[in-house]
């Protein structure tokens, strides 16, 4: 059955080898395409030969247990980490050779907060807009727009330190949108938020995808979130993609009632705490001794 699924994927994604890779490039536009993407930290493969594609306008979910390689994959796609091997393209730009073009076309909301908490919400957005070279008129207009979207207009001039966790996350989503990205990465966008905020963020994500036609790649631990939002999901474990399809197809093929069951089918029930920590440790060591 697994074999059948893998075959399915190959036909569906057609990116498992070089020849098909070329065909696909001519046929339709992929917002993201990776080929044998690999990242090693001190010999340990955090991401191992990952190949997948995300179509333009899609909401794609990258699912996996702790330390599976989700964040590492996203960081490579966002040009924050250099792949050890393989290649990846974002909006047709190579993440190694065309870093500035990639950076210009993506927005990213990180797992941990990445705001300057001594600046106001408005100033954080203004900082971002200037870093991305927006002119003064576009800046003002866009700041208003994105604040409006995440409903933070009346908190714009409050120092971010005084924001709640949910407000910070909403501000980060707003910031990720400032420079009109074509692809938005959301790393665990609803982690630690109350159901009200979570649902509101889901609304934003769908709204962005539908109204601004932004391709969205998100990682999450919440399967109901992936099922609700994503048109396609990739389950990643030990650095490898183990399943790649629509949530509905996965549920049908494996005859499971929920995506959570499919997920557990692929990744087992063992808790990954140890591996995650080991991974983190190796990552840190890799960072310390990097070239």
């Amino acid at each position: 059955m697994l074999f059948a699924l893998v075959r399915r994927q190959r036909i569906h994604w057609q990116i498992s080898n070089g020849v098909k890779w070329n065909i696909i490039k001519r046929n339709f536009m992929l917002a993201i395409e990776t080929k044998n993407l690999t990242k090693e930290f001190n010999g340990l493969k955090a991401v191992n030969n990952v190949s997948f594609g995300v179509e333009e306008g899609e909401i794609f979910g990258l699912l996996g247990p702790n330390g599976a390689g989700k964040t590492t994959t996203i960081k490579m796609l966002a040009t924050l980490l250099k792949p050890t091997k393989g290649e990846a393209k974002v909006c047709g730009f190579d993440v190694l050779k065309q870093r500035d073009e990639v950076r210009n076309s993506i927005g990213i909301v990180f797992q941990e907060p990445a705001l300057d908490n001594r600046l106001t919400g408005y100033e954080n957005l203004d900082f971002h807009a200037r870093l991305y070279g927006l002119d003064s008129e576009t800046r003002k207009k866009r700041i208003k727009e994105v604040l409006n979207l995440v409903e933070l207009e009346d908190k714009a001039n409050v120092i971010v330190r005084n924001y709640s966790g949910g407000m910070q996350r909403r501000l980060e989503i707003a910031r990720g949108l400032m420079h009109y990205p074509k692809v938005l990465f959301l790393d665990e966008p609803t982690l630690g938020l109350d159901p009200q905020t979570r649902h509101r963020i889901w609304d934003y994500i769908l709204q962005l995808n539908q109204k601004e036609k932004i391709t969205i790649i998100l990682t999450t631990h919440y399967m109901e979130e992936a099922d609700y939002l994503c048109q396609k999901v990739g389950i990643i474990d030990f650095g490898k993609i183990v399943a790649l399809d629509t949530p509905q197809n996965l549920k049908n093929i494996f005859k499971k009632p929920t995506l959570e069951d499919v997920f557990l089918h692929f990744t087992g029930r063992r808790i990954r705490e140890t591996e995650a920590n080991q991974n983190e440790k190796l990552k840190r060591m890799g960072h310390r001794f990097r070239r």
Partner: protein, 267 residues
């Protein structure tokens, strides 16, 4: 919001670089003026040094190699050098805090040259350090410090900027290698304090024993303090041009090193 928003507004890269430098500078200014406690804290140390040493050793304190003058006059340029040193290291190493609080990611993922980020940080760091050093200079005037030549102030500011550039570059280099903020105190104890104590801020370097003197002579701050002294009180141990050249080389080297290491930073 309409889908025609999707076109990314075109900007020339030079414009973007200028914007990046400016916004890094502006951020530093805003953070500086909002952190009043920090400003008072960093001003307090040089101020107490000035009061205690300047007054405590006022009378009959003349080391060999020191000009016949009030010790306060000898001390003030040294304290100004110290203010620049501490604030510059702090400004450079704030990369570490940005890493800790996650903001570094926001900077690193932006489509701007890392060199522009480094320049912006240096510009911001120099401005804040300069504000504090000049405040100390003004304070010292009230305590009885005498500037020998008013035009020397301009030269002194040049020296402050050179000291600042070099040590901010050094701070960025260190912060790019270090992993977490705990290492910061290590750098302070192991590097910054010796740099300050052996810079001739308190006593003429010529008083040091033979084995310690070379350390003082390879210490860039020695030339910074000497240059500040030359410009403010007209006394120096080395030729002014030597001070300038050494600080200039130090500045270029450190900015280069800092940019290079910062450029390699991964998250």
């Amino acid at each position: 919001m309409k889908s025609n928003n999707l076109q990314t507004p075109k900007q020339s890269s030079r414009d973007a670089t200028g914007q990046a430098i400016y916004i890094m500078w502006l951020r530093e200014m805003k953070r500086f003026f909002r952190a009043k406690a920090r400003v008072i804290g960093t001003l307090a140390m040089p101020f107490f040094f000035l009061i205690s040493f300047g007054f405590g050793m006022r009378q009959g304190f003349n080391l060999p190699g020191m000009p016949q003058m009030n010790y306060l006059n000898f001390l003030v340029p040294g304290i100004i050098g110290m203010t620049m040193l501490f604030n510059s290291i702090f400004a450079g190493i704030s990369v570490l805090w940005d890493r800790e609080f996650g903001f570094l990611k926001e900077i690193l993922v932006a489509p701007v040259k890392r060199f522009a980020i480094v320049l912006g940080r240096i510009a911001g760091g120099i401005t804040t350090a300069l504000i504090q050093a000049i405040l100390i200079l003004i304070l010292s005037l009230f305590l009885g410090f005498k500037i020998s030549n008013p035009f020397g102030i301009i030269l002194a500011i040049l020296f402050m900027i050179l000291i600042g550039t070099g040590f901010i570059g050094f701070g960025i280099a260190v912060a790019s290698i270090l992993e977490n903020t705990e290492s910061f105190s290590l750098i302070m104890q192991l590097f910054v304090f010796p740099t300050f104590l052996l810079s001739g801020a308190f006593f003429p370097v010529s008083n040091l024993p033979k084995w310690l003197k070379p350390i003082s002579l390879i210490n860039p701050l020695t030339y910074g303090v000497d240059g500040l002294r030359a410009s403010l009180i007209g006394f120096s141990q080395f030729p002014l041009i030597l001070d300038l050249v050494i600080l200039l080389i130090f500045g270029i080297l450190m900015v280069g090193l800092g940019s290079w290491l910062f450029n390699k930073t991964e998250i």
